[in-house]
Amino acid sequence: MKVSDLEALGYTRETKNEMEDFEIKAGYTGDLLSDVMANAPSDSILITIQAHKNTIAVATLAGIRAILVCNKRAIPSDMIEAANDNDVALFKTAETQFEASAKVAEKMKD
């Protein structure tokens, strides 16, 4: 799936970087950042509630290129800024991580 598919799924894009056509190849769901850093595949989407700047640093290291922040968590402006600067697409949703993971996984089968 492409980053642009996330908008089609109804998720709100927070970043302005040009990531729409980036091909997301895998996904990882987790809130323990050390686990995400150790196990998330590259070119992936991370589904999480960790709405802070550290998540972007972890994404950069792990090769995560899109992040979907769940559960209506408020996203601080410095997180959006870091995502823009590091070519990470950042989205938010009111869905839980479970609901979002199921939807994104389904879309990835296309």
Partner: protein, 234 residues
């Protein structure tokens, strides 16, 4: 006697702290701001503590040595010791439990440790912002075994605190509880509550108004004062 304290300060070996945070600069700033008692608590390392000891002695400050350990639950825990040797031994112990993931200075920041003259002695290889393999209970046990002080950090913060990670503060032994916002102290009134600067930049040193009433300037007297809640938090 009432001493003004700041138990939670980061130096340049913490990847997220400013490079200006040399132990020498911290000691100077602490003196300038009127602190009497300061502790160095870098993320998962005590390697800047030897320099910190020398610099605090130069400034006539009472100093403690420790680190802010990240537990496997990703809770930050302030661990303090009476002497540098114990802090360094504990630091070596914790480092063995840090994941084998190298720091990337361009992403996370530099992890340099220095001497009392701000000369760089070396760079820590593993990324210190990571979680150690030690649980909260493991860390408590190891700290108490070394006669240290065990203080969960900024429990009222939405990230990297015991409460953010577990959802609640387990009923257990803590030397004290640290809150980020002093107004939240009342929520943890069952325990002695302190508040520190958690400074990553020089200007933030001594940002909180924490006073401890101690019988004398000794680690035993400090522990006694904390345990008996002789704390003034403004």
């Amino acid at each position: 006697m009432l001493v003004r304290a700041d138990f939670h300060i980061h130096s340049c070996v913490s990847p997220c702290a400013s490079l200006e945070m040399s132990p020498a600069a911290i000691a100077e700033k602490a003196k300038e701001k009127g602190l009497d008692l300061v502790a160095l608590t870098d993320h998962n390392t005590a390697l800047n503590c030897p320099a910190f000891k020398a610099n605090c002695a130069q400034q006539g400050l009472w100093s403690l040595y420790g680190m802010e350990v990240t537990s496997s639950e990703e809770a930050h825990l302030v661990c303090l010791f009476e002497d540098v040797e114990t802090a360094l031994e504990f630091s070596e112990f914790v480092y063995k439990y840090m994941p084998d993931i190298e720091n990337k200075p361009e992403v996370f920041g530099d992890q340099v440790y220095v001497d009392e003259n701000e000369e760089i002695l070396g760079e820590v290889e593993k990324y210190l912002g990571n979680a150690s393999g030690l649980s909260i209970d493991d860390v408590r046990e190891e700290v108490f075994f070394r006669n240290g002080l065990f203080i969960p950090a900024h429990v009222d913060k939405p990230v990297f605190s015991i409460v953010s990670q577990l959802g609640f503060l387990p009923d257990a032994t803590y030397t004290a509880i640290e809150v980020f916002n002093p107004a939240n102290a009342k929520d943890y009134a069952k325990y002695p509550v302190i508040s520190d600067s958690d400074a990553h930049y020089l200007d933030d040193v001594a940002k909180k108004q924490l006073y401890i009433d101690v019988e004398e300037k000794s680690f035993a007297a400090l522990r006694d004062s904390l345990q008996n809640n002789r704390i003034v938090l403004k």
